[in-house]
């Protein structure tokens, strides 16, 4: 493991990693069960430097911005290294966003280079407005032979012949602009510095070290701050290997565990639940005798891992379960959203610790993490070394807004001093989440202060964003809220959205309008649907420009109505 205190920027740290372990494998890329690429650290360097040179020859320099729009694959990481080597700022964009939003963020970031996979580029190039918004240089990977690229260049052929110039950056300089999801029309470009990443990496690898020979299976999008850290910077500064799959299908993920003897993987709660369900079904199908034996072994494992995980012992006790995961799994990490305690306990009892944590892009990913000393399913762990967490304005039970300070907290939101000032107050990042710290320093999350929900897939949903589908409803006015925002429920599980509707002429809601609400709701994606509506017979408080004063309305509703008055859909 490199001592990251010695480096000032990601380019330097990555360069040192590539030089330190030239013969180790850094990347394996598999397309389903077909291995497409396997690169050593030396080969990775040899692939990236000519790209860096070509970028430099094309005028890319210190602080130039390059956006990447790709699925998880080797060219993502090679391109990112070439950008850092040249002193540039990386803008990792979410390949899962609708094309119109990708274009919006691309324009907002003012990236002068776009590195994009062919199939995404093809759709983007056909999108309205691409002509005006496209960066001056577009590099397309994996374009088929003979494909018309309309001015874009082939990534594979974009190579310089001479050695590139390494451009160092300072710790406080921006390294990446990462857009946090659910933008609500207002892009939130978190400007993360080299220091943010180096310090986050130092803290994480101290708790969960990587080493040569260890393999990380990367399935969360690399554009997401979590995978960027644990599926790139972490392993590359420790000599470990990253495995890319190019598919998210559970059957190939299961195969990859066995084939590549995976050490760590990060998942979203939904995938963890799919894995849990699959295992439970397999256990239920066992003959009675074997099922009882398994139950006894699980109980025994629970006993021996009471104080801390004991991987060798667990692998011996529950050999078949562990072989299904390749036999070398050290831990799973879960991120992006809140995970139920029962799921975490299920895996821990099988000898598979799930590193349950809490974080956000604004805090450079991870804020707290369970260190398994001992394992606790009821908290999101303790703050990472070097990260301070305090509870702002706690109530009598100690519950208040979680505030974070430390070297991993972002610099600011790109071009948005107003939102930055609302979010970082006196040096503390206000997360908008409610929690309390227990006597052992563990953080328990107990709901949100802000009006939003997060799905099991890790998607942030802002209620304002889904109001458009109810436009034209035959009602005087309406507004969507997170139910927990109106009526705090001290939980982050089963979060719901509620439509507050003020009928025409006051009084009750007509059957037609109720039916229309249900019909419009069906038009929303399932994870964006409202769970019910609340009939409200007073005028909404509004600003001079007639915008709804949401906080004031929420306060009125909190005073006058309760959750059980909500009509469930």
């Amino acid at each position: 493991m490199l001592d990251l205190r010695q480096y000032n920027c990601l380019g330097e740290a990555l360069r040192a990693g590539l030089a330190r372990w030239p013969g180790e494998t850094c990347l394996i890329e598999s397309d389903r069960d077909r291995e497409k690429a396997r690169l050593t650290y030396r080969q990775f360097r040899e692939a990236a430097l000519p790209l860096a040179r070509a970028l430099q020859e094309a005028g890319f320099q210190k602080d130039s911005r390059a956006a990447i729009l790709m699925t998880n694959q080797s060219k993502w990481l090679i391109s990112a290294y070439a950008v850092f080597y040249s002193g540039g700022v990386l803008v990792p964009l979410d390949y899962k966003l609708p094309f119109a939003e990708q274009l919006q963020l691309l324009a907002h970031s003012r990236a002068e280079v776009l590195i994009v996979e062919y199939h995404i580029w093809r759709a983007l190039a056909q999108s309205e407005g691409f002509g005006e918004r496209k960066p001056r240089l577009v590099l397309v990977t994996e374009a088929p032979v003979g494909a018309a690229l309309e001015g874009a260049r082939r990534w594979e052929e974009f190579r310089g012949n001479r050695h590139p110039i390494f451009v160092p950056r300072r710790r406080e300089d921006p390294a990446c602009i990462v857009y946090s999801s659910g933008t609500g029309g207002r892009p939130k470009g978190c400007v993360l510095t080299h220091e943010n990443y180096l310090e986050q990496c130092r803290a994480l690898t101290a708790l969960f070290p990587f080493a040569p020979g260890m393999r990380y299976l990367s399935i969360l999008p690399t554009n997401h701050a979590i995978d960027f850290m644990v599926g790139f910077i972490g392993p590359f500064t420790c000599g470990a290997t990253v495995v890319h799959l190019r598919t998210l299908r559970p059957e190939y993920i299961r195969d990859a565990f066995r084939k590549y003897k995976i050490s760590y993987m990060t998942v979203v709660p939904m995938l963890l639940k799919i894995l849990e369900r699959g295992l439970r079904e397999r256990f239920a199908e066992l003959p009675r005798g074997r099922r009882q034996m398994l139950g006894a072994l699980i109980s025994m494992n629970r006993l021996v891992t009471r104080r801390r995980p004991r991987l060798k012992m667990s692998r011996a006790l529950l050999r078949q379960v562990h072989e299904g995961f390749g036999g070398e799994l050290r831990a799973l990490f879960v991120g992006g959203a809140f995970t139920e305690a029962s799921t975490l306990q299920f895996f821990y009892d099988l000898g598979i610790p799930v590193g349950n944590g809490y974080g956000c892009t604004e805090a450079g990913t991870v804020i707290t993490l369970n260190d398994f000393k001992p394992f606790r399913a009821d908290t999101v762990g303790r703050p990472l070394p070097g990260v301070e967490v305090r509870i702002a304005d706690p109530d009598a039970e100690g519950v208040g807004e979680v505030a974070v300070r430390g070297k991993t907290v972002m610099s600011h939101y790109l071009d948005d001093p107003e939102m930055t000032a609302e979010t970082i107050v006196d040096g503390w990042l206000m997360t908008g989440d409610l929690g309390r710290l227990d006597a052992k320093g563990h953080l328990q999350l107990l709901g949100r202060k802000k009006n939003m929900i997060v799905t099991e897939e890790g998607k942030n949903i802002y209620p304002e964003d889904i109001e458009a589908v109810f436009e034209g409803l035959a009602a005087k006015e309406f507004c969507v809220f997170a139910a927990n925002y109106l009526w705090p429920a001290l939980t982050m599980i089963g979060e719901q959205l509620v439509l507050v509707v003020h009928p025409e002429g006051g009084g009750a809601l007509s059957e037609e309008v109720a039916a229309d609400i249900a019909e419009r709701n069906r038009r929303l994606l399932n994870y964006k649907r409202i769970s019910g509506y609340l009939v409200w017979d007073r005028d909404f408080p509004r600003t001079a420009s007639m915008k709804i004063k949401r906080m004031e309305l929420a306060e009125q509703i909190r005073q006058a109505a309760s959750r059980d008055q909500m009509v469930t859909l």
Binding site: T71, Y95, K96, P98, F99, E117, H119, I120, A123, R246, T247, L248, R249, P250, E251, M270, L271, I274, E457, R522, R523, L524, L525, N526, Y527
Partner: protein
């Protein structure tokens, strides 16, 4: 090669079977995420089923930006 209409028909039959819904409840223009109330991983499960049926390979990205059965059928048709 089957016609696009025949491909759509086969996809609707398989989707109905895969997600245990009545065949007649599904239409070619339906948004399958909304109609079936499924998430992206469940949609990938359907893609695997369709691959087996048509004997072709459909990369995950073929679902990118696709949400209705007809567009999905067009993507499949181009690979038959």
């Amino acid at each position: 090669m089957p016609t696009l209409d025949a491909t759509i028909e086969e996809i609707l039959n398989l989707a109905a079977e895969h997600f245990h819904v009545p065949r007649e409840s599904l239409q070619p223009g339906d948004d399958f995420f909304q109609k079936l109330g499924i998430n992206s991983l469940q949609a990938l499960g359907l893609l695997t089923r369709l691959e087996q049926h048509f004997g072709i390979e459909l990369p995950d990205y073929e679902l990118q930006g696709v949400s209705d059965f007809r567009t999905l059928a067009e993507r499949i048709q181009s690979r038959l």
